[in-house]
């Protein structure tokens, strides 16, 4: 016990103002503002390319990704540098960034058109019709390597967007239910309970059946399915934080409830929220892949892991062709594993501090 008490008192930080030592490039990059800028620089082009590329033409779709490439690589470096204490987190981050880098660079890689049929049922590592199929070809003769790499774009973009929207909605409701309490809590919690009573897949099927299958509707469905759980977590964190003296201090200053929620409560919930968000990114990835597999999600012909499984499951139930199933299945698993390991590593690190 004694040691814990002692270690709880952190070492006095060196005086910040006195002759600031020259910051290394890495230290500069690790500043929150820079990280957020890099994230936006990676994310906005990718989203624009995947969500709106269809409306804006092929050239736009390709070249808009150019600035995202250095941003993604820098982010990876920053992430590895900041989390080097936890090998688990590093493995997780590496898996996730493998797919992120693939997503932003795929138009510039020397790949064939993922939708072009070349040589049906060509096995792994075989050259046929003038093309070397490193990961084989599917039943229509399309290059699996190209399809797998292109396929990650849609899962990543829609998965992250859906999780983000669910988080914004869930956190706001959670803050309101937790902080404002009274009938706010009653109403919000009841709605959440109703939604949580649905098995997730049943809710997805119901919503997508009602709204129709599309990326945007997946975002809505994921929000309906995830926001109640997020709301419960944030509500719990809020209930815990709200009894703290600094909240009391803000109240006695006469601060507006909205300011207390956003400025005083939310930043203190960010630790558990980030960990949970990583896990939830995994769930959402599962959901999107599964929904596409079930025929309720993203539509053909563009490559998508769920779609690849769906198509292969019909025609490739033979040992010889099992690569058609295994490749997309393992790809999606590696991404989810990455998210889960990231969550584990972050949780471990937050417990240590």
């Amino acid at each position: 016990m004694a040691s814990v008490e002692v270690l709880a008192t952190p070492p006095a930080a060196p005086p910040v103002a006195a002759a600031a030592p020259p910051l290394t490039l890495l230290k500069r990059l690790q500043r929150p503002r820079v990280c957020i800028a890099l994230l936006l620089l990676m994310w906005l082009p990718l989203t624009a390319s995947v969500m709106f590329g269809g409306y804006l033409g092929d050239a736009f779709k390709t070249w808009v990704l150019l600035p995202a490439i250095p941003a993604t690589i820098l982010l990876y470096v920053v992430a590895v540098a900041s989390w080097r204490e936890s090998p688990i987190a590093i493995i997780g981050v590496s898996l996730v960034f493998f797919w992120l880098i693939a997503a932003v660079t795929v138009p510039f890689l020397p790949l064939v058109d993922p939708n072009k049929p070349i040589a049906p049922f060509t096995g792994v590592g075989i050259e046929k019709n003038g093309h070397l199929f490193l990961l084989g070809a599917d039943f229509k003769g399309r290059d699996m390597l190209s399809r797998v790499l292109w396929g990650c774009q849609r899962v990543l973009v829609w998965g992250v967007t859906a999780t983000l929207v669910a988080y914004v909605v869930g956190s706001m409701l959670g803050l309101m239910a937790g902080y404002l309490a009274k009938w706010w809590d009653q109403v919000i919690s009841f709605i959440a309970n109703v939604l949580l009573s649905f098995p997730v897949m049943v809710l997805f099927i119901l919503i997508l059946n009602y709204l129709g299958a599309s990326g945007f509707n997946i975002v809505i469905a994921v929000t309906f399915a995830s926001a109640p759980a997020i709301m419960r977590i944030v509500r719990g964190l809020t209930l815990d934080t709200k009894t703290r003296d600094y909240i009391f201090a803000a109240q006695t200053r006469g601060e507006h409830p909205l300011r207390i929620m956003i400025y005083e409560l939310l930043p203190n919930a960010r630790g558990p929220i980030i960990v949970d968000a990583c896990l939830r990114l995994g769930y959402t990835t599962v959901a999107i892949t599964t929904l596409t597999f079930l025929g309720l999600g993203l539509q053909p012909p563009d490559p998508d892991w769920g779609l690849m499984i769906k198509e292969a499951a019909k025609v490739a139930m033979l040992w010889k062709f099992s690569y058609m199933l295994l490749i997309p299945a393992l790809s999606v698993s590696s991404l989810i594993l990455g998210f889960n390991l990231m969550a584990d590593g972050l949780r471990e690190m937050s417990l240590r501090d």
Binding site: S3, L7, G254, E264, P267
Partner: protein, 706 residues
């Protein structure tokens, strides 16, 4: 020499923890010899390694702790070489332990009977029925009322005091040779603590058990122990029998510790407390040589900055030893009180008038749809008092007495059920904070209890102070706000660059200083301080209290000081309000409260406060039971269930009358005036000579910035 052999001996014991930062020594070169029937106190501030010693004796240091040197001899056998099985046979049968938090130390899903009986079953192999019978008998011995019922209860169904008695009974079941008590009363209220201390004192007599009593409270050590070891930063710095250590201390740290605690005789004007300057070094950043060196006024380069630094006996062959190279050179008598007498502050006009303030809560017992029964909790009942400018009013009471509710009503976070709170021309009783104007809000500010809770961990210290300045419209211009923040940091004696730090980079005392700066940022007229120092270490307490008093003096602020600690209250308050179960039991000037006539509850509170002075004699008044729940208060006088003067048919049915004694000294009690006046003083000091250790000439009177 026909000396009996010691029960326990620690020889040059060193313990380390292994962390990410590498090996961190927690305890260095610790020696202790415990004779049968002896009670040995280990005292020190948090982080000094005192609890680690206890766990090391039990050989239970967790997976990152280890004994790295020395020996622990229990009845002559080295415990470090024992097998797991040998240790198991000693644990709980020959050495037993009592812990700080009784609730957490009992298994929540097992009945008390089961948890008690398994001790003799596994150690002595006796039958279950016999073990149960013995457990019940022992519960009786630790004076638990209705042991049959308790045996069948789960831990959460009994009160904190009873839980601790159960843990003590569990420890005594196998008649141990040695009992380790690790802050056994810290989590309990003072009057409950007094009962447990009484019980512990009897143990060594009745059971012949040797005790090691670990505490941060010097007063408790005096009451329970024969010998004491003072620890600082992992080292024993002074050891000896109680009288020689307390009356003729020979280590500058021990001296500093005593100077920073309020004992009777200390007074904020005549004899202010003296804090130890600086901060406890971190275990991985200890100084060369004497760990206390940087904070010591007698530090001499070339002597104090060298190792080894052994313990020296004060006299040849004396058991009183100190770890100080210069203790012979220091003139201990010259370090006599330096009087920095200050004019007492004259109170000004009345600023706050609380009149018959009442706050009731209704709680509905569970049920979302089914209609539950409603209960009324009387949190505050007819609170009346007045506060003047520059005055310090202490509101005293144990947990659940309604002091926090009172603060909430005052700050406008709760509506009063009845009565008035008059601030100037404004009645605040039913004026929620959102409806108060900026001026009113800024006139009333608050300082909080828990240093770890008082600041928002997500924002910098500077931004949190600046927010108050902007919010109350003191300054708008960014430059001026920054200036004002710096000014406030100067006032609370913190370096200016702390403005850029986050709360987690600050120690508890520093956070509390920031809390004070934040409270005074809007130039308040009234500051409510809710136990502002109770969570801090004693030496830091003195510094923070001193600071608070200084600012109050300079600004002529009215201070409402909420506290359970009568020693602190006696030291700094002008007037005292004693509360019990939401009602005022007694109020008056500080001297009036601390001398007869007393309210029976005040009398018991006074007797319960541990005082670290061997010359103080107290009348023993030990209350039975614990405070009733505010949702189900007794009829009549709220104190009637525990009062030793209870008159059946009167006290338990009729609310007590208010009896006025001196000018504004009021006692709410059924006892007639003659009886109350005939009460004897609770606290008497043996000889009337000036206390020998009031304050040292060498330490600064006002704490310097850490």
């Amino acid at each position: 020499m026909t000396e009996p052999s010691p029960v326990l001996e620690c020889r040059n014991l060193s313990i380390s923890y292994y962390t990410r930062a590498g090996e961190v020594p927690a305890v260095v070169d610790f020696n202790l010899k415990l004779m049968p029937g002896e009670a040995h106190g280990i005292v020190g501030e948090s982080g000094c390694g005192k609890s680690t010693v206890a766990l090391a004796i039990m050989n239970y240091l967790g997976k990152n702790g280890a004994i790295v040197g020395g020996k622990i001899l229990f009845e002559g056998a080295d415990m470090r070489t024992m097998s797991e099985e040998q240790l198991r046979q000693i644990r709980g049968s020959k050495i037993a332990m009592v812990y700080q938090e009784p609730m957490a130390s009992l298994n929540p899903s097992m009945r008390i009977s089961e948890q008690l009986a398994e001790v003799p079953i596994y150690h002595e192999g006796i039958a279950r029925a016999e073990a149960l019978a013995r457990s019940e008998a022992l519960l009786e011995q630790v004076r638990i009322p209705d042991p049959k019922r308790i045996m069948n209860s789960y831990p959460h169904q009994i009160s904190g005091g009873q839980q601790q008695r159960v843990v003590i009974a569990m420890a005594l079941l196998s008649k141990p040779k040695l009992l380790l008590l690790d802050e056994p009363t810290t989590a309990l209220d003072v009057t409950v603590e007094a009962g447990i201390v009484e019980l512990i004192k009897e143990i060594s007599q009745t059971f012949g058990t040797s005790l090691i009593y670990i505490s941060h409270n010097l007063g408790l050590i005096v009451e329970t122990c024969n010998r004491v070891t003072v620890m600082y930063s992992g080292e024993a710095v002074e050891t000896g029998d109680i009288r020689s250590v307390f009356n003729d201390m020979r280590h500058p740290y021990t001296r500093g510790l005593f100077n920073s605690i309020p004992v009777p005789g200390a007074d904020k004007n005549a004899r202010p407390l003296v804090a130890i300057r600086g901060q406890l070094p971190l275990p991985y950043a200890r100084p060369q040589g004497c760990y206390f060196g940087p904070r010591c006024d007698h530090f001499a380069a070339g002597i104090c900055d060298k190792r080894p630094l052994p313990m020296h006996p004060v006299e040849p062959n004396s058991s009183h030893a100190v770890r100080c190279e210069r203790f012979r050179e220091i003139d201990w008598d010259a370090a006599k009180p330096k009087h920095i007498e200050r004019e007492p502050v004259a109170p000004g006009h009345m600023v706050l008038h609380v009149d018959d303030l009442t706050k009731h809560y209704t709680i509905e017992s569970r049920a979302a749809l089914l209609v539950g029964s409603k209960k009324t909790v009387k949190a505050n009942e007819k609170i009346t008092f007045r506060a003047h400018e520059a005055e310090t009013i202490a509101i005293v009471g144990e947990s659940g007495c309604g002091k926090s509710t009172f603060a909430k009503v005052l700050m406008g976070l709760e509506d009063a059920t009845g009565g008035k709170v008059q601030l100037g021309d404004l009645n605040l009783a039913n004026l929620p904070v959102q409806q108060r104007d900026q001026g009113t809000i800024s006139r009333l500010q608050m300082i909080f209890q828990n240093p770890f809770d008082t600041l928002n961990p997500s924002h910098t210290v500077g931004s949190q102070i600046a927010r108050v300045i902007r919010k109350f419209g003191r300054e708008r211009d960014a430059k001026k706000v920054e200036e004002r923040v710096n000014e406030l940091l100067d006032i609370v004696k913190l370096p200016r660059d702390f403005a850029k730090r986050r709360p987690r980079q600050l120690s508890g005392g520093q956070k509390q200083r920031v809390g004070i700066a934040r409270a005074f940022a809007g130039d308040p007229k009234i500051v409510v301080a809710d136990e502002p120092v109770s969570a801090l270490d004693v030496s830091v307490q003195a510094a923070v209290t001193g600071l608070l008093m200084d600012i109050q003096r300079n600004n002529r602020t009215t201070l409402l000081f909420i506290s359970h600690d009568l020693s602190v209250v006696r030291y700094l308050a002008d007037r005292v309000v004693v509360m019990y179960l939401g009602q005022i039991m007694e109020k008056g000037a500080t001297e009036e409260i601390f001398s007869p006539p007393y309210h029976p509850y005040t009398e018991a509170l006074l007797s319960a406060v541990p005082i670290a002075d061997t010359r103080v004699r107290k009348r023993k008044i030990v209350l039975q039971g614990e405070m009733p729940s505010p949702s189900n208060p007794p009829k009549g006088c709220p104190f009637s269930t525990r009062c030793l003067y209870m008159m059946k048919g009167v006290c338990d049915t009729i609310p007590p009358p208010q009896r006025t004694f001196a000018h504004r000294h009021v006692i709410a009690c059924h006892l007639d005036e003659a009886t109350l006046k005939a009460m004897e003083p609770v606290i008497t000091v043996e000889d009337d000579a000036a206390p020998s250790h009031a304050s040292s000439a060498t330490a600064e009177a006002i704490p310097s910035a850490p």
